[in-house]
Symmetry: C2
Subunit: 335 residues, 2 copies
DNA sequence: TTGAAAGCGCTACCAG
DNA sequence: CTGGTAGCGCTTTCAA
């Protein structure tokens, strides 16, 4: 079923059918009716590939994320998609599972689809990818990676500041043995968060012992990390997690070991996803506004929506500390 | 940058370039080299729209879900995608948010993309949609809805059985005041689960008082439902939830009200997503094998992968009760 | 082993 | 207001 068949059936030219299907220009009402009838009788659905090939532009934008399973990424996706729909765009998302090869694959795919814009919200990164992307004249927005240029915009989070806030806060509560739970990621903001942790501790809390650990980004990852830490002989009074998901995993293991949170051990998250409020105990965490990131990404990608927001910008977001029930004064030192 | 330019640069015809790009037929090695070089020098990426238009077939399969945020759906997506990748397919997913209009929109979009197959994993349904889908000769697999035919396969879960198991289990623990927390959905399996609940109770536990309630499918939805139930004067000894996400929401509200789970109130979930193990207390729930569903969906959609699995089949999955810490004997009746 | 050319289904421009 | 038609970028015979 193609335009031609519809045209034949309606007794008009393909041009006319195309017109009614695109609400474009003027078509006599009776003609429109006839075409519409043919369309529904034939159960016709326009071939979108042919469409965007002919138009030379596709009305879809791409988003690539490290782990859509993590609500942090999904929340961004949601608002991006909402904005997109509001402007007549579709968004197609891809997952990389923190794998650089997978990232490259997805980027190629998106370019192949000739997306109108591409949001790359990932932690891992491939060296040549950025230049490859810069070379293609595709509009791109990176999260936490790359540098702005003519077609590339940037959104970053001031992790360092976020980590500082937690560390200072915990230090003020007399915590002197801290553990940091991160997750594996080739490069970028994760090790960045870890680096931020290490540097912050040595600057603001030099009297503090610490230790870091990385597993995979999931509930089980947090659980496993906590398991290793608690089995290591290093007895932290607080565990700082790279995100809320892992913190929930940590919470469980800590509880199973018979420790009370926060009386025995404090735990913190990062991102402030909805789940952090529903954890037990609810998580002290750092808020990162995913909706804002989603809106920003869209406006940087679709020029018609950007009120004076030229591409090639860089925006930095400051995390805010959210105090809940998973943190408290450090426990007295126990043998 | 098109095939033509690459061909020009490499000093060959477009046909040849196409050949090397598709690993097809024999191309002299030196020629191949030249083409490859031109490709990378030009930073060329084939236009996938043109490709699938010319080929008359796209190597992508579509999946439509009610709420990808809910790990139940996402887990299915993951295994579907893994299978797809293993066979050289891509999968593009869409979300409906339990909205029938949105569903119709997504289906049209998928047909427009000429996907090789479509998995529709939703609760809501539009009357004409099934016939529209049947009319298009697209291979489709429905979850919990529709009836098998030449191009349409079906996967369903025996909810009734699942609900029976929970109700009987709770009844055996002397629970006599049950609440059921569902979520809004125009039609289909949700109200089906609710119906199953009502019928099961009146058949297997006629001496039981009950009440049902529906909110939206999210942590907050569960919380809100619990809030309403606990404020209503109806004091259930157990709350049965339509899925794990909502159960976690319920858990929180129950806890905040000062009730202990399961000593004061038992809570059950459905699906057995990972989070159910990490909830506090861990959730008694019904296991539904998302990975199996994902594999099934793929094999029903892609004939080359189906070993004798003809389309038009219907498969029923039986939920299994998983006992954890959120359930226990009914509390003594309190004024 | 390679090239020429006919489409794939749709849009858009130019006439009428 | 409507029709004819030249592409969009790629694949795929058919010949050479």
């Amino acid at each position: 079923m193609s335009l031609t068949e519809v045209a034949k059936r309606a007794g008009v030219s393909t041009a006319t059918v195309s017109r009614v299907l695109n609400q474009a220009s003027v078509v006599r009402n009776s003609t429109r009716q006839r075409v519409m009838r043919a369309v529904s009788e034939l159960n016709y659905h326009p071939n979108l590939h042919a469409r965007s090939l002919a138009k030379g532009a596709s009305r879809t934008i791409g988003m690539i994320a490290s782990n859509l399973q993590n609500p942090f990424f999904f929340d961004i996706f949601r608002t991006l998609e909402a904005d997109a729909h509001a402007h007549g765009y579709e968004v197609v998302a891809a997952n990389t599972d923190y794998d650089a090869a997978h990232l490259v694959r997805s980027v190629r795919l998106m370019i192949g689809r000739r997306v109108a814009g591409l949001a790359v919200i990932v932690s891992e990164m491939n060296k040549d990818l950025i230049s490859e992307l810069a070379a293609s004249k595709l509009r791109v927005v990176f999260y936490d990676v790359g540098t702005p240029c003519r077609t590339i915009s940037n959104i970053r989070v001031n992790y360092r500041r976020g980590i500082e806030r937690v560390v200072e806060y915990l230090h003020s509560l007399n915590h002197r043995r801290l553990a940091f739970v991160g997750h594996h990621a080739a490069l970028g903001p994760l090790s960045e968060r870890e680096k931020a942790f290490i540097e912050t501790v040595s600057r603001y809390a030099p009297d503090t012992e610490w230790r870091t650990l990385a597993t995979h980004d999931a509930l089980e990852g947090g659980q496993q990390a906590a398991h290793e830490i608690l089995s290591s002989g290093f007895n932290p009074t607080a565990i700082i997690c790279v995100n809320d998901i892992m913190a929930v995993g940590v919470l469980r293991e800590v509880r199973e070991r018979g420790f009370r949170v926060p009386q025995d051990i404090s735990v913190t998250g990062f991102d402030n996803i909805k789940l952090s409020e529903f954890a037990y105990p609810s998580l002290t965490t750092l808020h990162i506004p995913r909706d804002r990131i989603g809106h920003l990404a869209f406006s940087m990608l679709v020029p018609e929506s950007a009120r004076g927001k030229a591409p090639g910008r860089e925006i930095v977001i400051e995390p805010e500390l959210v105090l809940r029930d998973s943190t408290g004064p450090a426990a007295r030192a126990t043998a």
